[in-house]
């Protein structure tokens, strides 16, 4: 169970965070949540698909790391073998919390930094420190704070993006048929991708409105990212020694 607490420089002055990448730190992820603002970075390494949250039925975009549950084909000897790690993974063990503050007599909601103290990365000996000697943030913690801010805005934006995809019927389910080097066949289903047929039928006005929000680029980034399936397959063959 997560033990999320508000981060502060007094209680947590000696806390360190291990940044090594390994299954024991929860990095054995099949996929992680992503959003249009990081599609450009993510599509360089990972296929980007869409998936439904089983608890809400709402769609979100994901960067794929493997073909099945708990399979991350980028993990190798304590390293993540790609130059870009999606922010929703990189931010661990931190998360965004909400705090109500009283500002000039008005109740306002403010985003604050939380940390999961039960996360296996959290300890007092190894890894990155969070605070400098006199209580100011380390560059590491500043970078984390920036990440969480980017995630927050990215997820808000993602909802608008996906609502538009659904409105224009631009998502379609697909089944991925895979054949490994030993000729064994596998299937992956339950994910969704951009329907190129519908995309090609969009009128100029719709295209212009998607473009104005930067979503046209995101759509093509998602389509281009599919070429990374080949790379994932190569990693899978390699891992199995095929």
């Amino acid at each position: 169970m997560a033990n999320n607490v508000l981060l502060n420089s007094i209680d947590h002055k000696d806390v360190k965070v291990i940044t090594e990448r390994s299954p024991k730190y929860g990095d054995n992820l099949w996929y992680s949540l992503t959003f249009p603002a990081e599609f450009r970075s993510a599509q360089a390494y990972y296929p980007i698909f869409f998936n439904k949250d089983p608890n809400t039925g709402q769609f979100f975009a994901v960067a794929m790391f493997g073909f099945q549950d708990q399979e991350n084909l980028f993990l190798q000897n304590g390293k993540w073998d790609a130059a870009y790690i999606p922010l929703t993974v990189a931010r661990q063990p931190f998360l965004i919390g909400k705090q109500t503050v009283n500002e000039d007599g008005q109740q306002k909601e403010q985003r604050v930094l939380h940390i999961d103290m039960d996360h296996p990365r959290v300890n007092l000996e190894h890894g990155e420190a969070l605070f400098l000697e006199f209580g100011s943030n380390t560059p590491y913690l500043d970078a984390i704070a920036d990440m969480l801010e980017a995630i927050h805005h990215g997820i808000v934006d993602s909802k608008t993006f996906i609502d538009l995809l659904l409105e224009h019927e631009l998502l379609e389910p697909f089944t991925l048929d895979l054949e490994l080097n030993d000729a064994s066949k596998h299937q992956m289903s339950g994910f969704y991708t951009i329907c190129e047929e519908k995309l090609n039928e969009l009128d100029a006005q719709t295209l212009a409105s998607l473009h104005a929000r930067g979503y046209l680029q995101a759509i093509y980034m998602a389509i281009a990212s599919q070429s990374n399936i080949r790379g994932l397959l190569n990693r899978k063959n390699q891992q199995l020694g095929l």
Binding site: K52, P54, G57, L166, E172
Partner: protein
Amino acid sequence: MQKPLKKIVIVGGGSAGWLSAGIIAAEHAADQDLTSQNNLEVTLIESADVPTIGVGEGTWPSMRTTLKKMGISETEFLLACDASFKQGSKFTNWHTNTNEYYYHPYTLPHGFNETNLAPFWQAYRDQISFADAVCTQSHLGERDLAPKQISTAEYDFNANYGYHLDAGKFATLLKNHCIQKLGVKHIVDHVTKVNSAENGDIDSISSKSHGDISGDLFIDCTGTSSLLLGKHFGIPFVSQKHVLFNDSALAVHVPHQSPDSPIGSFTCATAQSAGWIWDIALPSRRGVGYAYSSAYISDESAEQELRAYIAPIMGDKEAHNIAIRKISFDPGHREKFWHKNCVAIGLSAGFIEPLEATALALIELSAKMVSEQLPANRLAMDIVAKRFNSKFLHRWQNIVDFLKLHYVLSKRSDSDYWRDISDNSQLPESLQEQLTLWKTQAPYYYDATHTEEMFPSASYQYILYGMGFVTEEPRKKRLDLTKRAERLFNDNAKHTKHLLATLPTNRDLLNKIKQFGLPKI
């Protein structure tokens, strides 16, 4: 050149009128090409001062297709009609009156299209009920589980389902959709007169303040008054009261015990001394009613039985005081349904107790056939009408037989009603024959004599074996299918376990739908 059929006039609103309007207008794109020669005009005239009967709160799975075709969002429908999921019916006290029950689920027995499991179940009949052995859905019913998840797309399912709904709200939703999206013309006025053409067709109907409204085809959705087919054309009524005794109903709306009480997804049909009580759970209330035979019980005694039924739900005092609505009906149907240029859909065509929720299903089937077989001109109409009549006469006979089947296998002898209604000598001949045959062979494909039968042979299996009917074990065959049957039984058990672990309760899912809506894909 025959004059093309261009104008349909539907007389009467309610579920029948608006469903018919929606089904026809959606298929024929009545909202488009208003200037085109081929355009079909659909007009619905309803009176402001005629209340709809407002029963018929259960649908078949076919309603999913019907709504989808009309372009209605399932989320919108569920929320607007106070609707929940219906997965079939649960019958209590029909067989021996010892609190026993059985299920008639909407899902076919596992592997039904390749293997008939009924003969193989006979060996296990004392260990597991037929529905439990061949289908997942009775297990879901016992736990009030939903037939799908929040991530399942609109109209898709994990287990086949229709709906329980508020009939009044349903008619309103359909009306708005028909007018706003499907181009149906709406006239609120009172019909005063039916005007004949030279050939005996209906030429037009006169209204109080909209003058004469002419049309090429008139659809009679005027309810039990059957204004066009019954009153104007005098098509005789065929009573089925001698087979199905129930001719009265008492209906009441009952609040849930608590706001988070489970919402059952089976219509509960509990047998009483002279009929049965339906119990339908909607998100915000339950609809309960007693269908009975006035020849066997007085209205007062029937009312007492109904109040006794709802007392545990709402408390003695409230159950004693709540207002109950009485409906009287003659069970049966018209001798034919399509006469000249007039076709009756809904109660104007016939009415029977709501035991298997056939009312809305018949409306869908009728409107679908009218729409898909819509005659291009008057010459073609007589041929389509002939086919329509033979098809729906067969369907009515089917319904009568199938409903009767629920009664004839009863072992109850605690009242004259049950002794008389289960009397074998009073059976329709068609049912008599089937029952003889089923003693030595289980119902399967050969029992369907027409395409699109009202009830698949699976439904007969659920009722027969739910009511303790015995089909002799089949003789040994060269090709032994026992192994395959065992595999299907095991698959079903496995699949059941999986669904029990993954499906939410009806109440949970409906709450989530309120919050997030169902995904479109």
